[in-house]
Symmetry: C2
Subunit: 205 residues, 2 copies
Amino acid sequence: MGASTKQGYGIASKSRKIVRALIGDKIKDLSPDEQLIIERIVHSTADPEYAEITRISPDFVSESVKAIETQKDILTDINMVRAGINEYSGEIKCYISHEETLKIAKEEQITRAAAAIRVAHDKGFDGIIAIGNAPTALFEAIDLVENQGMKVSSIIGVPVGFVGAAESKDFLKKTEIPNVITEGPKGGTPVAVAVVNTIIGINKD
Amino acid sequence: MGASTKQGYGIASKSRKIVRALIGDKIKDLSPDEQLIIERIVHSTADPEYAEITRISPDFVSESVKAIETQKDILTDINMVRAGINEYSGEIKCYISHEETLKIAKEEQITRAAAAIRVAHDKGFDGIIAIGNAPTALFEAIDLVENQGMKVSSIIGVPVGFVGAAESKDFLKKTEIPNVITEGPKGGTPVAVAVVNTIIGINKD
């Protein structure tokens, strides 16, 4: 789980045991890879509630691993999510501070996070989208996939907050897009990062 | 709360009202600035429990704002925390991937996050430390302040996890260092970022 020294490995291994003791029972019917995803979310947040609110679509792992194998791009809504993804040999993109993003956001008075997804699509994005912050970015991504032919292998849709987050995740769950969501207002950068890093790890194993 | 467009402001304002309705009663005895800190943590995590587990030392706001005013450095344990801090005109430092850090971590078999704090001290760091991930980094920072004369204005000590996080925060709380902590295993990048960005915002107002 990101550890690279003896002390680091010791902590990760002890944490894994504690997490399994806390949530093992709740996730025992999931596939081993899906269990890894949820264990890592709980490890990263210290919040066992994620074992109850995380939903993984049946095709999420296979489609995501296929994308990672072929080094497709990963698109994140904010730089914080990008900064947490480690050891990926493909490209990780985030257009939140891109000039074109600021222009679209200003002109259309939409959030920068939503405009940034549109910019990615305009640039021909094809890969995995990880949304850890903005519901508006998730709504935009779904709209672009369903109505504008945006190419995505999967969407990790775990925006956080009391305004629109739950609704945006409900919406994603009802689509045909391979996805992970967290029900309700909870989610966030560490959750998105945990899912992406698990998928990268599964591909390496 | 990080919003820069009409849609963004609308969401932030609606969220603020919901957060106040959820936790207003629990934080009403705190100073207005301390309330802002906790409101922003709850906004960022969608987890009202932070209103109960966040502890702010009485000198934290004044010492931190003084440091921000004079543009002292901010040191983060991981890049994810650094990536979330916005609109600071001073420097934000993180040595987790620094060559010297990797060397110390390997030689002494300590975590990279702990070694990175030592590297900052060796380089004469003086400012605010924000730890959002690694308890080992927090233990190291406290040790350097108490025994090696490391100069800190305040420590935002909110590492997350089931191994050592709670203990490291308990330890910080008992020191004389101006601090914010979250009791128990919870914490993380969004919490650290919320505190730092609130302090920067207070200074601007």
